[in-house]
Symmetry: C2
Subunit: 335 residues, 2 copies
């Protein structure tokens, strides 16, 4: 990406092992993330450009001399953040804050160098032709980001849920909340094709309105009180404002949409007076993959349904355009 | 209170029963709250004035015809909020959001009308001459506000704790954290006589510096990482800024100081990026009294040590002045 709206496909040197703990993974599937659209809107023009992409699954091509758990040919899922999986923070499930870790940023490509490969990559017993690839790819970020929102919010069979946002993360959050037992899931979104998928994933109610009207509608659906948990899957201030508008007394707002603001209301009138909890952050995807993988492999959930378009590498710029124009919900990249 | 700095003692009509669920309680002890100092600083001058005070213990003098659990002569503790103790929110321990509830505001007085007396008042088996009165009075607000901060933060033997503020709430939070098993409690406060009481209550470290220097010192004490929990017991923006400065990755900031701001940083750089949780609010004191009362009655804790001055009703204005000047930590009122 060379600036807002300016995505180019270029030949760059193949990635190589740089540390003995590295692996090189050939990308079998990657995708475009809603968060990639933020620089697509705002990035200043740059002569140098930035590589893009942080979600991928693929096949191990090379391993460094210290890599112990992987072999060439292994099919692997890469979390969007690499991590040693051994430090204090990783052991607590906070992999996005790993002491040695960092974030991938070159995954919309043919191959990726993976630091800390033993800690980062999770093997999956599938072939490159598996029908499960789209769903497996969602374990790299989008589905587990929705899952993180639901886990942090404490979603369970006794909690009512509002999901704000009908993008791929929001729909993933619906699916995650349903999986955790939520029986009442209100999805706030105004794109019918998307909210229809949300209903398929488990939403019991859809509120298309936004702002004050949307808040009023969610409250009306919940006896005036709002829901115990709110999964904020957008990141804009308007979404945050809806979140504290629809959350019930003593409830939890869990954010996973990357905030496009730094300051926001948290005082007596918004959070404090009603004992509202605010939580969330970048999903420590690595902490969740092994737990959720069987549900995907055994077909109990199909989070890959969020992909509604597939492009080759050459068409990645078109993929960005289509997602930005909301013509596509989420774009799968097949190098 | 007739305006900032203007507290007067006046004769007003005695409170009377207004609803069959009311009681009238003769005040045996009341006190001045740190939150009373906010209007003491900022209240516009008013011809009418506002009654003050929300913390009291006393003796039931009259009961309405529907009051079933209380009798004249019962010694009772009043939470700073009245509540029915039966609605959905109360059953969930959210008494400050009781559907019928509200807040006391006339407790610096000889007697108080108590709405919803059955739900609100908790009997204590003591006499008016008990040496436990100061500690029992802290169950009306200050100690249980500190307790609420610690409970909401999830303090336990495995969590390190920073308490921000060496006022009576902060010191109460230290005692509450200690009671919940915390082994490492860093108290941020710069008044040695107060932090000495904090050490007696369980603080293992005291950081007198504020701002960036204070943050650096807490981080140095904790291997660079900060503490799992931060109990913010002040309410000013500067305290909140210290809170997110000293909280550990994945940690919890629990606020009980009434925020003197509405907007504050909560974006990627402050809370989101490190998966920090923000919680807290007005303490649902009523939910905690029965659990903590035995610890006071049996002398296991002595939260009443926060009172370091006692005044009669006539000297309440002087009590405000002394607390505001930090000559007194917390002022007990003995009508």
């Amino acid at each position: 990406m060379y600036g807002a709206g300016d995505v180019r496909v270029e030949n760059v040197p193949d990635p190589t092992l740089q540390a003995p703990t590295d692996a090189v993974v050939r990308v079998v599937r990657a995708c475009v993330c809603g968060s990639d659209l933020h620089p697509f809107h705002t990035m200043p023009a740059s002569a140098q450009g930035s590589p893009m992409g942080h979600e991928f699954i693929g096949v191990v091509e090379e391993i460094g001399s210290d890599v112990a758990t992987l072999q060439r040919g292994d099919f692997v899922i890469a979390p969007f953040a690499y991590s040693d999986n051994t430090c204090e923070f990783c052991r607590e499930g906070l992999h996005t804050s790993c002491r040695q870790g960092g974030f991938f940023s070159t995954a919309q490509a043919e191959a990726v160098r993976v630091p800390l490969a033993d800690g980062t990559l999770v093997k999956a017993p599938v072939g490159e032709d598996s029908a499960l690839l789209p769903s497996l790819l969602t374990l790299s970020d989008v589905f587990l980001t929705g899952h993180h929102a639901a886990v942090r919010a404490g979603v369970n069979p006794r909690t009512t849920v509002t999901v704000i946002g009908d993008g791929a993360v929001g729909l993933s959050a619906v699916l995650a909340a349903k999986r955790l037992g939520a029986e009442r899931i209100v999805l706030m979104g105004r794109h019918k094709d998307r909210t229809d998928l949300g209903r398929e994933f488990g939403a019991t109610d859809v509120v298309a309105e936004r702002g004050e009207k949307g808040i009023a509608n969610v409250r009306e659906l919940t006896g005036g009180d709002g829901t115990h948990t709110v999964l904020e899957c957008v990141g804009y201030m308007s979404a945050y404002e809806m979140a504290y508008g629809v959350v019930r007394v003593g409830g939890v707002i869990s954010r996973v949409g990357v905030p496009q603001y730094e300051e926001a209301p948290i005082g007596f009138g918004s959070l404090f007076g009603r004992n509202i909890t605010l939580t969330g952050g970048p999903a420590p995807v690595r902490a969740y993959i092994e737990e959720l993988l069987p549900d995907v492999l055994e077909g109990r959930i199909e989070p890959g349904k969020v992909f509604d378009r597939t492009v080759g590498l050459d068409a990645v710029p078109e993929g960005y355009r289509a997602m930005d124009a909301r013509e596509a919900l989420k774009v799968l990249v097949q190098p």
